[in-house]
Every structure is written in C-alpha cells, then in structure tokens.
C-alpha cells in the first residue's frame, strides 16, 4: 500500500499512520490493498465519520488493521457537507458493511453502491422520518 499511497496526514495518537486520499480514490485504494495483501491481509476495523461544520466537510476515516502485524492505519477522506456521497466498498471488503450502515444512518453519508443502506438502522423511526441525522452538528 505504501507504494500506491504516500503518507501525508501525520499520526492519530498513539502512532496510527494517517494516509489522506481523494474521495474518488477510496475504491481503487481498497482494490490495491486486496491485490497487494490478499483477502486475509487486512480488515476494516471501523469507519468514523466526523461532521466538520466550520470547514463544510464530513470527514470519513477508515481504520484499517493490517495483518498479521496488526498495525492500525487510517485512510482519511472528506466529502462536502451538502453533498456527502462516497463510493461503497462493501463489495470489496464485506466487513465495511456495519460501518457504512452506521455512518449513513447517523451522519447522512451516502455510500453509492451499498444495497443495504437504510434509515432507521439505529435511529428511532420518528427521528429518521424527520430526516434528522443525530451526529450532525446543529
């Protein structure tokens, strides 16, 4: 992976390397990961969405654990707050399913190509019907 992606974003404490990438490259980076490390060479631990209201962005971090050394690295991307659309990676890494469902339901990021996305996965139906995303900043 280091061959295809330069580390530019510093570290998340403690010593988790951060690689920043354009939203359009997310799929190709994960395809590269599968090609370089194989299906058993990494897993997507979690997807963290953060609403950065002042910048007008929603930051999406993929925390990936590289096996067998179990090193956690961060693949960081950001989408505009008014049009938060990203390509889904569930067909490449099925383990991303739970993270994508959650980030969609709580922050409103649309993962294109994920057929299982729905509101009300976690959020109560009355909140979901109003179109409120609870973790968006007011």
């Amino acid at each position: 992976m280091t061959a295809t992606l330069a580390q530019a974003g510093g570290f998340v404490k403690p010593n988790r390397r951060v690689f920043t990438l354009e939203p359009s490259r997310v799929r190709s980076v994960f395809l590269d990961l599968v090609r370089e490390r194989g299906q058993e060479g990494f897993y997507v631990s979690t997807i963290v969405g953060v609403d950065l209201k002042e910048e007008g962005l929603i930051r999406v971090d993929y925390f990936v654990v590289l096996l067998p050394e179990e090193e956690t690295v961060v693949l960081r991307t950001a989408v505009p707050r008014d049009n938060p659309v990203l390509d889904s990676i569930v067909d490449i890494v099925p383990g991303a399913l739970s993270g994508e469902l959650e980030t969609h339901d709580l922050l409103g990021v649309l993962f294109q190509g994920n057929p299982y996305l729905r509101r009300g996965f976690f959020v109560p139906s009355d909140v979901a019907e109003k179109g409120v995303y609870p973790l968006r900043r007011g």
């Binding site: 998340v12 404490k13 403690p14 988790r16 299906q39 058993e40 990494f42 897993y43 997507v44 631990s45 979690t46 963290v48 953060v50 971090d61 925390f63 654990v65 096996l67 067998p68 050394e69 179990e70 090193e71 956690t72 961060v74 890494v93 099925p94 383990g95 991303a96 399913l97 739970s98 993270g99 469902l101 959650e102 709580l106 057929p115 299982y116 009300g120 996965f121 976690f122 959020v123 109560p124 609870p134 973790l135």
Partner: protein
C-alpha cells in the same frame, strides 16, 4: 408441452427476538426457513440505541468516563480503560506502573466472568440447565474478587485519567488470589466438560463453521476470529497498560465451529487467571495508583486519539477528538459485537432452526433478504432467478408458457 417450471421456495419467516434471542442484546433475527433449514437471516437493530456518542459530545471529558461505563455492564472496565487511555494520549499523561497492573487485574477478572457467562448461556441454550447453574455459581467467586478490587460487583467505575480510583491492600490482593485459584480449578473442570460431554459436543461441533478468510473479510473479531485460526489480539499488538510485561498467550484454534469458539473462551479464561495471579504476585510499588482528581488538567488540548483494547468479545476501539473546549468534539465507539452481529448472517445458512440459537450464542450475523423465485429450464437443467416483483408484474414474457408451480 411443459418445458419450464417455476419453483417458488415456500419460506416461512420466524422472528427470533427481539426479547432475549439467546444473548442479552435486544436484537431481532428474522430467519427465513425452508422446512427446517435456514435460508436467510435478516438482522433488525435499533432496539437499544441510546445515543451515547451524542451524549458524550454534550458532557465534559471527565463526566463521559461514567457515561461510558454504562455502555455495557458486562465489560465496563474495558470500555472505561480504552476511553481513559485515549484521554491520556491527548493530554500526554501516563499512569504509574502500579495503576497499570491494577487495570490489567480488573480487566482480566472481567474477561473470566464474561467468558464464564457466555459459556453458561451456551449450556442453557443447548438445554443443559444444570451446567448453566453450576457455572453461574462459580462465576460469583469472580464477581466477589472484582468487588474486592473495585468496590462493586458489576459497575466498577474503576478507571480514572492518570490511574485507578482505589488502591489494593496486600491482604485484599491475597483474598483475590485465593478466589482466582479456586476459580481456575473450576475452569479446568468446565473445559473438560465441554470437551467430553456428548450433549455439548453433539450440539456444537460442526455447527456454524466459519472459514478463516471469511472471518477476516467480514471483520469478525475476538474469540470468533481466533476460533477460526486468525491470530489477532490487541493486548499483544498494542501492549497497552501492563501488557508489555504481562504478555498473554494467544489462544487460536483451527476448527472454526461453535465448539471451537467456546473452547477458545475456556482457554482464554485460564490464561486470564494466570495473568491475574502473576500481576498480583508482582504488583509494583511505585507510589499511589490513585491520582488526585482535583489536580487533573481541566483543559484538553486539541488533538485526536484512537485506542484499542482486547475486550472479552474482541477488539474494542474508541476514537476521541478534542477541539480544545470542555467537551469532546467527537467520540466514536466501535464495539466488537457491532461487527460480529451485523456482518455475519452468512453463517446461519444451511443449518437448522435448532442450530440458530447455538450459532447466535457463539457469535451473531446479518444479511438482507430478497424474496425470489428460481426458474428451472427442464430441457437444459438451467436455473436462473427472477425477483418476485417481475413475476407479479405479469410480464408478457411469462404469459401462456404453461408453468408448473412447485
């Protein structure tokens, strides 16, 4: 002349849950069965979403420690430990060695009682209630040990930024060691019961087999992954707290079935007992492990931390982001059950209804279900699938062809 057959699988929907579907989480498993065989499982969540991440954004860093202890009763010390360590990373603080050792003792006691609980539940699920009662009785000894250490059987509120909230006297350390030694004997006995008892082995062996590659691809964690031969353990890779000195042996098995997952838990409980005894025998004496809470920093610098802990159920991670104000900007919690429940519906398929609670008790899955019909071309033997919607639309292509409904 009839040359095509429409085969409509008669599937019956069986709700399992949301009240106590074998485990404690209120989750609804919609199982679609064809006869006795489970063909699809759909997981409905959201019965217990309490908005804790949002609540954390609205309270101070320190109040959040107590909110986070309430995420999960069974493993509250691991939750607070991983959150407190994230705060320590942001602050640049480090607790002393004694505090780190005491944290490990609390977390390993928790692992023993959590593994005993899930194994007891498994015994109950397969109809072996006596074993359930017996394990739960012995589990009380671990709860007592945890009470001696933290002051509470369950809700410990033991971790604090810069250390722990109670010191341990030498006399109490001896009491805990005695209890753990008693429990260790019982753990060895129960492990043998799970190996030799025909009720257990018949119901668990070969049920819910998980391949190594599927465990990794679907982010299945903890004993579930280790039961399928994946060597992952955050205690070994991150070496947080005192795990740099008290290195645990990673228990891995290759069978990948429900039985292997339960056996991994028994072996891990035995390893935990060893760690507790070893930690108690060499508790460092480098000052008080209890920080003066009045002197802890009130202001948090901007920064972010992502900490991991090996909870009883697998890798538990916290992401904490501070923007320099009194409250955290974002707290993201990813529990191991979250991926183990949502990502693993594929495991149920092909097993019977009676196996469903067994597999569920050994882990937990999800897949969305689409009703469909299978078209069999009798001339060529070719089968293809067509969605119900297309059939019900009455497409011209399907009219007047003389289908048989099977």
């Amino acid at each position: 002349m009839v040359d095509k057959v429409v085969e409509l699988p008669v599937t019956i929907e069986i709700p399992v849950g949301p009240q106590h579907p074998a485990l404690h989480e209120p989750v609804l498993l919609k199982a679609y069965v064809d006869g006795e065989t489970v063909v699809k499982v759909e997981v409905n969540t959201g019965y217990n979403h309490r908005g804790i991440e949002k609540l954390c954004e609205q309270n101070t860093f320190y109040k959040d420690i107590f909110i986070i202890g309430r995420v999960c009763g069974i493993c509250n010390t691991v939750h607070t430990d991983v959150y407190v360590r994230a705060l320590e990373q942001i602050l640049g603080l480090e607790p002393n060695r004694r505090a780190k050792y005491l944290r490990v003792v609390a977390m390993e006691l928790e692992r023993i009682h959590s593994h005993m609980l899930i194994n007891a539940v498994m015994a109950e699920v397969v109809g072996f209630d006596t074993l359930f009662m017996s394990i739960m009785l012995d589990r009380e000894k671990v709860m007592k040990a945890k009470e001696i250490l933290t002051g509470a059987r369950v809700m410990a509120d033991y971790m604090m930024v810069g250390g722990v909230r109670r010191d341990l006297s030498d006399a109490d350390a001896g009491r805990i060691a005695k209890l753990v030694e008693q429990v260790r004997e019982r753990l060895t006995y129960y492990k043998r019961v799970f190996e030799e008892d025909t009720t257990i082995t018949k119901r668990l062996m070969g049920v819910g087999v998980l391949k190594r590659v599927d465990a990794v691809r679907h982010t299945l964690l903890g004993p579930v992954a280790r039961g399928s031969g994946v060597r992952i353990d955050a205690r070994v890779s991150d070496r947080y707290d005192a795990y740099d000195e008290l290195q645990p042996e990673v228990v891995v098995r290759g069978e990948g079935d429900s039985w292997a997952r339960m056996m991994v838990r028994w072996d891990e409980a035995l390893v935990s007992a060893e760690i507790v005894l070893s930690a108690l025998s060499k508790l460092p004496r480098d000052g008080s492990p209890v920080p003066d809470e009045r002197k802890l920093p009130r202001k948090f610098p901007p920064g972010e931390a992502y900490t991991r802990v090996e909870a009883p159920r697998g890798e538990l991670t916290y992401y904490v982001m501070s923007d320099g104000k009194a409250n955290p900007y974002r707290v993201k919690i990813r529990t191991p059950s979250f991926t183990n429940i949502v990502n693993s519906a594929f495991l149920y398929e092909g097993y019977t209804i009676a196996d469903l609670p067994v597999i569920l008790a050994s882990l937990d899955p999800c897949i969305s279900c689409m009703e469909r019909a299978v078209i069999t071309d009798l001339r060529t033997g070719e089968r293809r699938t067509v969605p119900f919607t297309q059939l019900s639309r009455g497409d011209k292509a399907w009219r007047g062809r003389g289908f048989y409904l099977l």
